[in-house]
């Protein structure tokens, strides 16, 4: 059976890929002719959650809550449990996720395998730091409970390990306490990139959550114009705080019902969106109390919003560049992307120096920028290659969870512990991304030749309308 599973960016599209739902921890892994790869909710954008010619071990059926200690805030659950399910369980009892990505529809296994980060990286570091233990099932049938004390090497290889070290069955996650489900937030307008650095420096000491949205069209002196969001969980007493009823909660029945035709996202509509977004949110300047849901998960309000990019899908590009080179590198990255059909969402945030146990973890001290681009074939791939090059020259790194175009050579440079990691890859596991990054002939090829180096001999070109 071929599976319908695609990644969130819906590029590259895979055609020959089977799916095997994992239902019980007691099961052994299926015997399959192609390689295996765990798959959560497919919220990775590129090809790291895809396995052309192989089998996806789908985990949303491995979704039991195994225990929650309300006193210590440690929750144990199977790896397919979503952050959404966890929040519903723990928030009413006074706890919250220690680190959360911008969507609640990811699994715990996926959050570990990509060692995800959130708006509090400068304080808290990555998700992997809060994973106390987990159990790893390998294709040879062996099972290991991994933690900083037991099988430490497997623990470190698997956090950020891109699903390649085996299947995570369950995990213990340490939560953080909250008084109530509200966040006290503030929106600060940014005139340009310099303002971002200034506001970041002044905000980070007293704000747990920080992130900036940039207008993808602003250029020249205005380059980097945007809005800076900062916030903290609300104190125990809400009296006197600017709470509005509309912030209490919201129904999210909205969904994009079908693929919008590709032309609906042109320069003009994106320009209009960015302009409108800037104006509307500028009005919300100042402090206010907000329910955690719209604060952390604004995009979850519209289900399947990835369809606005049409059938050809889109690319997200996220990189981090060290503080020393950040100003110049970001300027160049933003200028180059503004020349393309401008990115719908430009997100900028600083990463702190709290390190992760994961060998292949992406976050590192510096500034991270995320951009997305509608897929316009070779042209977009060329742009990604340029952004990849600028990142490399700045001494930064690209996030595999968002990648469909970095070069294999750059991947090796971004992740210096790659050679240490390789022996931990399960011999029966692989992914489209992994083959693209490691097959011998891929090293020399540019992203434009994507796929020609994959072991299977099947790849992207057929899907790229050149």
């Amino acid at each position: 059976m071929t599976s319908e599973h695609q990644s969130w960016g819906r590029f590259p599209r895979v055609s020959r890929q089977a799916a095997h739902p994992v239902v019980w921890q007691t099961e052994s892994l299926p015997v399959s002719s192609g390689p295996l790869l765990p798959h959560g909710l497919g919220r990775s954008y590129g090809d790291s959650c895809l396995n052309e010619g192989g089998t996806l071990l789908t985990t949303p059926t491995l979704d039991r809550l195994l225990g929650f200690d309300v006193a210590t805030g440690v929750v144990r659950c199977e790896a397919g449990v979503s952050l959404d399910t966890l929040l519903r369980l723990v928030v009413p009892r006074g706890w919250f996720l220690p680190v959360t990505p911008g969507t609640r529809f990811v699994t715990v296994g996926g959050a570990i395998a990509n060692d995800v980060h959130g708006k509090n990286h400068h304080r808290a570091g990555t998700f992997g730091r809060y994973v106390r233990r987990f159990e790893l099932l390998r294709s040879d049938g062996s099972r290991r409970v991994c933690s900083p004390e037991e099988h430490r090497d497997w623990y470190e290889a698997t956090i950020g390990g891109l699903g390649l070290t085996g299947l995570i069955l369950w995990a213990d996650v340490q939560l953080r306490p909250i008084h109530n489900p509200f966040v006290l937030t503030e929106t600060v307008p940014l005139e340009n990139l310099d303002a971002f650095f200034e506001v970041s420096r002044e905000s980070e000491p007293d704000h747990e959550f920080t992130v900036a949205w940039l207008d993808g069209l602003a250029r020249g002196r205005r380059l980097g114009r945007g809005l800076y969001y900062r916030g903290n969980f609300a104190p125990p007493q809400l009296e006197g705080l600017p709470l509005r009823k509309s912030h209490l909660n919201r129904a999210s029945g909205l969904a994009v019902p079908f693929d919008l035709p590709g032309f609906s996202l042109n320069r003009l509509s994106v320009a209009a969106f960015n302009w409108l977004y800037y104006r509307v949110n500028l009005l919300k300047r100042g402090a206010r109390l907000q329910h955690y849901d719209p604060f952390f998960y604004p995009l979850d309000a519209v289900q399947r919003w990835n369809r606005i990019y049409g059938r050809r899908g889109f690319f997200q590009f996220q990189c981090v560049v060290p503080h020393a080179t950040a100003r110049d590198a970001l300027r160049e990255l933003l200028e180059r992307s503004a020349r393309e059909v401008p990115s719908f969402l430009n997100v900028l945030k600083t990463f702190g120096s709290v390190s992760s146990p994961g060998w292949l973890s992406f976050p590192r001290p510096g500034v991270t920028l995320a951009l997305d681009f509608a897929n316009r074939g070779a042209r977009t791939l060329r742009l990604i290659a340029e952004l990849d090059r600028v990142t490399r020259e700045a001494g930064g790194a690209v996030y595999p969870a968002k990648d469909a175009g970095m070069s294999a050579e750059n991947f090796a440079a971004y992740f210096p512990q790659l050679e240490r990691f390789k022996p931990y890859v399960d011999p029966a596991f692989s992914s489209s991304f992994w083959r693209r990054m490691t097959s011998a002939s891929a090293v020399a090829t540019s992203p434009l030749a994507l796929g020609q180096g994959t072991g299977e001999g099947v790849g992207v070109p057929a899907a790229v309308p050149l």
Binding site: M1, H20, P21, V23, W24, Q25, T26, T61, R64, L65, L66, G67, F68, E78, L89
Partner: protein, 245 residues
């Protein structure tokens, strides 16, 4: 239903129903064949808010254990006011056609074991003059079709048994609810290409609890199956027997 015995608790539909019951704070006695799998379902129920969870691994094809099982569940929960019979096998029609042993297995698990359990449960509920018996049957029991008549027959027999039981228990205030799901997207149907007729186990679970709360007699979940099965039942046998359904 506050104190509920769940038979076949590791099936996808039962698990989804158990979660809803747990969220309401029900006390649960869970029975399934595989002890390790049953254990994670029990932990899940406890974590989601069940006021009490007890479990017992048991092969329900062993009819001689049924009386004692019901007794033990009632003791563990301090009484019983609900039971959900959710265990069953799909069987394989072609294998059943070739072998009586295979056919008998399907009839034993789906009909005989349910009838045996219902005998023990009905007597207890009748004596206490209260309670709700919920049994998961199938639309397949509405009409025999060449593609799965052995499974269909096991469910058809179950439906008639439940009708009679409902009739008998009506005067003692015990509800007997027959639930007829259509296609459900479970791991067991993973190999079947999905279409719009497939419902999720969660959807079916909500339908089951709605029917149980409303003390309904027979319900189709999702409800559209009532119409589909009405049409299928209405086709004259002379025509039906030539159809490939």
């Amino acid at each position: 239903m506050k104190k509920v015995l769940v038979l076949g608790a590791t099936s996808a539909i039962a698990q989804a129903t158990v979660r809803l019951l747990a969220a309401r704070g029900a006390a649960l006695y869970l029975v399934g064949r595989n002890a390790a799998n049953l254990d994670v379902v029990a932990k899940d129920a406890a974590t989601r808010g069940a006021s009490k969870v007890e479990q017992q691994a048991l092969d329900l094809d062993d009819f001689s254990a049924h009386e004692a099982l019901v007794e033990r569940a009632a003791q563990a929960l301090g009484g019983l006011d609900g039971a959900l019979i959710a265990h069953g096998v799909l069987g394989e029609q072609k294998a059943c056609e070739r072998s009586w042993t295979e056919t008998e297995k399907v009839l034993r698990t789906n009909f005989l074991s349910a009838a045996s359990l219902l005998t023990a449960l009905a007597n207890r509920f009748e004596a206490q003059k209260a309670g709700t018996l919920v049994v998961i049957s199938s639309v397949a029991g509405d009409r025999g079709r060449q593609s799965n008549y052995v499974y269909g027959a096991s469910k058809g027999a179950l439906n008639v048994f439940l009708q009679g039981l409902r009739n008998r228990l009506a005067r003692s205030g015990v509800a007997v609810v027959t639930v007829k799901p259509g296609f459900v997207d479970t791991p067991m149907t993973a190999h079947v290409p999905k279409n719009k007729l497939f419902a999720s186990p969660e959807q079916v679970a909500r339908g089951i609890l709605r029917a149980a709360d409303g003390r309904k007699n027979e319900v189709y979940v999702p409800a559209r199956w009532a119409l589909i099965m009405f049409i299928i039942r209405s086709i004259p046998e002379g025509i039906f027997k030539k159809m490939k359904l």
